[in-house]
């Protein structure tokens, strides 16, 4: 069953543009989590976004982007998945989060995460009830998504000996290493992390980046207000 409600958000970070759609549908829960709603994150690096993006099956880069964004949202438990359960073991809300990168000018991770956060915060679901083995959707009553916290994703690149926040395309093209850190607003926890790039990072560089992620999160999240 498809529900028409769809929340789209466009985020621009410099000239990078990401559109995110959140599409709720009703489906069956996974066997090992019968009382939890389902989150699925997908990403398309559209050929229109950069000359190097090719059509076809998802590239490792797009899968990595989707999975890093997904990991932050999931592990921070900022969506209360228990509240997305309609009837335990039978029907739950499934949220399909689709990332559409339409213009690539660097730092897709942070831009995508902000877009997903904005979309989730604005998503409304029709109130659903389970009556006689059937789902009845309310025509006029809606509920907000149960959002408990906010997540800021901060990406740094190492070029030479420096760490730079929010890399531009030019900076990404010459990066030695990359590190992305997800930090929750209220929980004040590190929830996700991903290193990329060809060069290694030292212990101190990593700890510096983590510390900076905590100090930049307020600034980043202020764009959601």
């Amino acid at each position: 069953m498809m529900v028409k409600e769809l929340m789209e958000e466009l985020v621009k970070l410099g000239d990078t543009q990401v559109i995110v759609g959140v599409k709720p549908t009703i489906g069956e829960p996974f066997g090992d989590t019968p009382n939890l709603g389902v989150l699925m994150t997908n990403c398309e690096l559209l050929p229109m976004a950069a000359p190097g993006f090719e059509p076809g099956p998802p590239s490792p880069e797009s899968i990595e982007l989707a999975r890093v964004v997904d990991r932050g949202i999931r592990e921070s438990e900022l969506v209360d998945l228990e509240k997305l359960c309609i009837e335990e073991g039978k029907k739950v809300w499934m949220l399909f989060i689709d990332l559409h990168v339409i213009d690539y000018d660097g730092n897709l991770f942070d831009a995508s995460n902000l877009a997903v956060m904005a979309a989730l915060m604005n998503t409304k679901l029709p109130v659903a009830e389970y009556i006689d083995d059937e789902i009845v959707l309310s025509e006029d009553e809606t509920m907000d998504l149960p959002i408990r916290d906010k997540l800021a994703l901060s990406t740094f690149v190492k070029i030479g000996n420096g760490l730079i926040l929010d890399p531009s395309l030019e900076e990404e093209e010459i990066l030695d290493a990359r590190i992305t850190i997800g930090v929750t607003d209220e929980g004040n926890h590190v929830c996700s992390m991903q290193k990329g790039g060809e060069a290694p990072l030292t212990r101190d560089e990593i700890l510096d980046a983590v510390h900076m992620a905590f100090t930049t999160k307020d600034d980043l999240l202020s764009y959601l207000d």
């Binding site: 590190v190 290193k195 212990r203």
Partner: protein, 236 residues
């Protein structure tokens, strides 16, 4: 005067101390045809790694004129987990393949092999938590066994948070029930980190603790990698 010794062993379901690994076994040179290979067990994980190359590749567009390239395929056998896994690559294995290549590449001196490819295959025969780090550890031994010039032998392990305590080397059960997981890989000679991921909930201090615990753990596993390689070439 007396000391109160904390009973760390109560902490973990399998009775390990917070900084204790599951039993580890590494063997180098287990496959005949491959240029290099290794077999690794840690707890219930059974992992094979193979290396072919440096060699020419028919996928010309992947080759580079100024350096060799490394390609990694991480794959889980359908029978490696409780419910049969659908064969073939999925999103998880695609991501792990990518980051495993990133983790191994910094140690390799591939600039000596322009226009050639090193193919690394990590095959998870049985999985019990922590397969990506174990796979990278095994692949590094296989790369050394293949005789590829390296600055260091990359090694991986993970720390995590279980019952609000940072512990080393999560088992599958701990990973499922735990609060966080931080897999890393490093080059033990310089202490540089070549793979870093994290998921779960950690404070800044807990993350630092986890990072230090994994780095210490990596150094211990590094010894076992060296012993496996020595055993391979001293017995013949």
């Amino acid at each position: 005067m007396f000391f109160i010794i904390s009973n760390d062993k109560e902490l973990r379901v399998d009775g390990r101390a917070y900084d204790e690994f599951r039993p580890i076994k590494i063997e180098a040179g287990v496959l005949k045809r491959a240029d290099g290979s290794a077999y690794l067990e840690v707890g219930g994980n059974k992992i094979l790694a193979s290396v072919y190359g440096p060699r020419e590749s028919y996928i010309r567009r992947l080759l580079k004129p100024n350096t060799g390239v490394i390609r990694v395929r991480y794959n889980m056998a359908p029978f490696s987990v409780d419910d049969r896994k659908r064969p073939g690559p999925d999103r998880r294995s695609t991501e792990i393949s990518k980051i495993a290549a990133d983790a191994l590449r910094p140690a390799l001196m591939l600039e000596s092999f322009p226009r050639s490819m090193v193919d690394v295959s990590i095959e998870v025969i049985e999985a019990e938590g922590g397969t990506r780090c174990a796979g990278i550890t095994a692949a590094a031994v296989a790369l050394a066994d293949a005789g590829i010039p390296m600055k260091d032998i990359v090694v991986g392990c993970a720390a995590g948070k279980v019952n609000d305590q940072v512990v080393l080397d999560l088992s599958e059960k701990e990973d499922k029930e735990g609060q966080a997981d931080v897999p890393i890989a490093m080059m033990p000679r310089t202490g540089e980190i070549t793979l870093l991921q994290a998921d779960g909930n950690l404070t800044e201090e807990e993350f630092e603790e986890a990072l230090d615990l994994t780095m210490e753990g990596c150094r211990k596993i590094s010894q076992l990698q060296h012993e496996a390689l020595k055993a391979r070439y001293s017995s013949e």
